[in-house]
Symmetry: C2
Subunit: 196 residues, 2 copies
Amino acid sequence: MTSQAQTSTRRDELLAIAAELFATKGFKNTTVRDIADAAGILSGSLYHHFDSKESMVDEILSSFQEELFGKYAEIVAGDADPRAKLDAAVRVSFEAIDRHRNEVAIFQNEADYLGTFERFAYLADRNQQSRDVWHALLNEGVSSGALRQDLDIELVYRFIRDTVWVAVRWYRPGAKLSHTDIANQYLTILLDGITS
Amino acid sequence: MTSQAQTSTRRDELLAIAAELFATKGFKNTTVRDIADAAGILSGSLYHHFDSKESMVDEILSSFQEELFGKYAEIVAGDADPRAKLDAAVRVSFEAIDRHRNEVAIFQNEADYLGTFERFAYLADRNQQSRDVWHALLNEGVSSGALRQDLDIELVYRFIRDTVWVAVRWYRPGAKLSHTDIANQYLTILLDGITS
DNA sequence: GTCTATAGACCGATAGAC
DNA sequence: GTCTATCGGTCTATAGAC
């Protein structure tokens, strides 16, 4: 293994430690000393790896979002029927919560605040991109007759988006219910309601 | 009007200004100078009215929660049928978002962090109390036959709680959809689903 | 009730030794 | 790649004048 690979591994370790803290305590509320302490080094040493605290959260968020939106794009471009596409998009989202809990939590909690800086303008773009994906899936569903005609699409989009992502607040990998169980129950409620 | 009442009014003004900032920028990310600036005074002058920044957020949260849980208690104790009670609890919650946007936002964003201090231990109690209310309403619904038997009550509770309260992120009073419109659409989805 | 002035702590970031 | 040492800035909170 080259020293290049070693460096890259160490960077990733530090980013993972930072992500855990940003997700738990918040970006502003996490100090570089917190991150360094958790990594067993001193705060000044972090600046050998990263320009600033902002660079760390930037790297964490942008690499995660690239992965997630790649998956959404595949679903939208696919040729499954509308209901199956909606199903797949919901499942991919709960899977992202399972695999990238910290990244999702940071995006949920900090996007509004970070978005005020030019550096993080791409966060607003991603939000718009996400809205486009869900609107497309819901409109396909309505025009194909799979979904009710009387729905306010924008409102349904918000309910789906919010309910899916907010699960990151309580979901813990390895708990009684897997992310697949949760997606199943959630899709049942969303599609058919809770009345008997 | 007595000087007592004047003092109380000024306190309330300052609390409202602080609540707006805490809700928008976050508690930790709002400085006492921010609050003072918005009020047109200097930061030191705030300490004539309040012990600390923590006291401000404490007062904001506790008085709001007292009001909200009073309403939940009335609904639970009432003699409406299970479905009407569930309906009422959802409507009261969206109404709270309409009337106390900042307070709800602060609770949503900061409860986890603030809850780590003894002073805010009551936040965890309120969470448990909320869980009890919704579980009671949902269990009544299932045993009366109004709701499906195959629901995971804890999961349904979380979905309702999350979806209702997270609306504070995008709901703005005076927008196209009133809080009643939103409650209507939300109850439709929750009760009957989005499929045709 | 607000101001002036400042204490004391903590913050992000840097320079240079090892 | 980490440490020592520290700078300049900002934070909450206080003391006392007006």
